[in-house]
Symmetry: C2
Subunit: 166 residues, 2 copies
């Protein structure tokens, strides 16, 4: 069966805009608070978690690293909410996404590499592979939705022979 | 005028409970996700930001370090919302708090030192000093409230001669 090799792009706000937000301070406006002792980079992601009686959650994730090349396994989306991952270990990681839509279009898959200072926020409905840590066990902060309702659709793509490589 | 020396306590969930949440993975329950590739530490803080038509914000903060001993300057509280700070630089920092109440009770001030892996979430109304970074310029993620309404009360305490020391 044909194999697809998915190239890895640098994560930039422009490139990621169809899928959600990049949470980073580089290149962003900021303003002083605390009598100039700190700079605030304000409101960097659209936190969209209130649908269906939802509420914002703060959770932590400890992810094992993967080895590249890697066969993609699964895509998922949250039809009711955004979901943000912010790296706490300053280690690069990979993000694999496809545009929000009822049906997953594998021809529109994109892979991005965070520099380890960049977090991401998947827009509600954006298809995404489970996050791919690199190099070492990596810690992330998650901001997503709690509450009733079925907020996860999954599609097994392990038989599609799609690989990301370094 | 009399000087007050405020001792610094280790930050633990039990000790911080009157003021809010400690966001950490150590000692917390977790469950596997992503086919066992990751562990999720779920719902570690009470994000309370919806009062008065509020919405959750994700922001970043870059804080200059302070030198100890330090004269405390200002206490503030957010009457409409909780506010979380999660360290992204893995550097210890100090938190100074007093219980939520209309009037600030300086006799009940407490100072805590985060180990750099611990974030905190001030419960709505908890009095707190602007966060005190140590050692180096430190980055934090903030989860707090956006929206209308006056959500910050401040009290100048710079003339009260209260010091934290290492």
């Amino acid at each position: 069966m044909t194999e697809t090799r998915l190239p890895i792009a640098l994560l930039t706000r422009a490139a990621f805009a169809p899928f959600g937000d990049v949470i980073e301070s580089e290149g962003r406006d900021h303003y002083p608070i605390n009598a100039g002792m700190a700079q605030r980079y304000h409101d960097l992601a659209e936190v969209d978690v209130m649908a269906g009686g939802g509420r914002p959650l703060i959770s932590l994730l400890k992810a094992k690293p993967v080895a590249l090349p890697l066969r993609l396994r699964l895509m998922e989306r949250h039809p009711l909410s955004s979901q943000a991952f912010i790296p706490l270990s300053a280690v690069p990681f990979l993000i694999v996404v496809a545009p929000a839509s009822r049906t997953l279009d594998l021809a529109r898959l994109k892979a991005f590499r965070s520099n380890g200072r960049q977090g991401i926020n998947y827009r509600r409905g954006t298809w995404h592979h489970p996050l791919l840590a690199l190099d070492s066990v990596s810690n992330f902060l998650i901001v997503d939705r709690g509450g009733e309702g079925d907020d996860c659709d999954e599609i097994d793509i392990s038989d599609r022979n799609i690989f990301v490589e370094s």
